[in-house]
């Protein structure tokens, strides 16, 4: 019995060690699905590794979950797109510093035949108002993520309370929401990066973009040494600094999908 127990524990630790053996140094980065799904990390992480010999392990989850992971001390670094939430995080002492890294924008996607006439809208407010008036099916993430909150601000801005059968709150991430919208032939607001990389478009197409209010800022956070002393703060700082460095910013700018740049570096 004891023999088998030690064998099992050895097997378990080997697995754990194997995970560590992938790179000598690594940090865990909690980020969002837009950065992962678009392929940004696949493009820039190898460059970071080449420069610093540090592997970045990305946990791509919804913004809310990313904050929770960082709050619990399960990640060394945080890169999300919810500026208000990020500032609160610093205020509450979980992070010591927040920096602008890059931005992109949100876009309004919808069925090709565009029953709500979103194509013709001049502003985001108009686009959303049109959808509400036509009571055209709209797929909302409904998960209190950064994107979701941004979407709700658009409705507010349009003077609309989204309610009724046409407004479907899915409680899902961006990808699954797009899948559902494609199947429902519904309108949906997405970040551009996820949309450009998304393959299951069916009837959906990009109908509205360009309004300044659809601006989507990404920020990197340096986590607090005090709250979680065990984290790899030195390595995380290297990552944070690299993101806003010339090399990092260039790597972000160089990333393209189908000839389109998806993220625009704007570190100060």
């Amino acid at each position: 019995m004891r023999k088998t127990l030690t064998l099992v524990l050895a097997g378990l630790t080997t697995l754990g060690l194997a995970a560590g053996a992938y790179a000598d140094d690594y940090i865990t980065l909690a980020s969002t699905t837009s950065t992962e799904n678009s392929g940004l990390f696949n493009a820039i992480l190898p460059q970071f590794k080449a420069a610093t010999d540090i592997q970045v392990r990305v946990i791509a989850v919804g913004t809310g979950q990313a904050f929770e992971i960082a709050r619990r001390g399960d990640a060394d670094s945080l890169l999300v797109h919810d500026t208000a939430g990020e500032l609160r995080f610093v205020e509450n002492g979980y992070a010591t510093e927040r920096a602008d890294v890059m931005y992109n924008d949100f876009v309004v996607i919808g069925p090709g035949n565009d029953p709500a006439n979103v194509r013709q809208a001049q502003t985001a407010a108009e686009a959303f108002a049109n959808i509400a008036e036509a009571q055209a099916p709209f797929a909302s993430r409904g998960d209190d993520s950064g994107t979701n909150r941004a979407e709700l601000r658009r409705w507010e801005n349009a003077g609309v309370e989204p309610d009724g059968d046409w407004y479907r709150e899915l409680g899902s991430g961006m990808g699954p929401t797009l899948n559902t919208a494609a199947a429902m032939d519904a309108y949906v607001m997405s970040d551009r990066a996820t949309w450009v990389a998304f393959k299951n478009r069916q009837n959906l197409t990009l109908l509205f973009d360009g309004d300044d209010v659809l601006f989507n800022q990404y920020g990197s956070l340096l986590l607090s040494k005090e709250k979680h002393p065990h984290l790899k703060h030195d390595l995380a700082e290297k990552w944070h600094k690299w993101l806003i460095s010339e090399q990092g910013q260039k790597a972000i700018a160089d990333f393209q999908v189908d000839g389109q740049q998806l993220f625009f570096p704007n570190a100060k």
């Binding site: 088998t4 127990l5 099992v8 097997g11 378990l12 630790t13 697995l15 754990g16 194997a18 995970a19 560590g20 992938y22 865990t28 699905t33 799904n37 990390f41 696949n42 392990r57 990305v58 946990i59 791509a60 989850v61 709050r71 619990r72 001390g73 399960d74 991430g173 961006m174 990808g175 699954p176 797009l178 899948n179 494609a182 990389a197 998304f198 393959k199 299951n200 478009r201 979680h228 065990h230």
Partner: protein, 232 residues
Amino acid sequence: MENNAFYVALSLLMNLDAALFQIVALSLQVSLLAVLAAALLGFPLGAAVALWRFPGRGGVIVALNALMGLPPVVAGLTVYLLLSRAGPLGEWGLLFTPTAMVIAQFVLVLPILAALSRQKVEELLGEYREQFISLGMSRSRMMPTLLWDARFTLLTVLLAGFGRASAEVGAVMMVGGNIDGVTRVMTTAIVLETSKGDLPLALGLGIVLLTLVMLINAGAYVVSELAKRRVG
């Protein structure tokens, strides 16, 4: 799209896609290790519940049976809260590692192995009890004998546990984080590709996973049939 998916699955396998192999290898490692560990604890546990009368025994049996249906995401969440730095076992630093995934699947599979082995051992005990007592066997002495005698059924139970482990995604997603190259397994890869809208690839991966599990089951069937024929 369905034709597409089969083609994708086939080309994935033919091209000996290195990333795919890594994912498949990790999936097998995690699930097999979890099932073996769960068997080491679960089979004696099930046998013990079958052999001994104790207060609350009925409750234990009901609980084991009910936990067979433990939702994977709940198991994942529970293990996550345990292993998180903010949790009781945070110091072990196991979150987002394959070890955490093994633990989560262990939790998921243990009730299945314990509940089903209990049922089989109890059945055998009905047949053997008088003879065992006549031979002077104590209840603890009966345990290894009964478990070995039940080996063919227990193999099927093991396969059921393995099926459950290799099919689930909720637990490994939560505690593993689906980290590329570190904790990405077949099921989480399928979820990822689905969320990217690449449904043919997702389905193709699904077909690869199914084929794998089917091969394992076929192998186990052949082995057990050969053995059964000898033992009767």
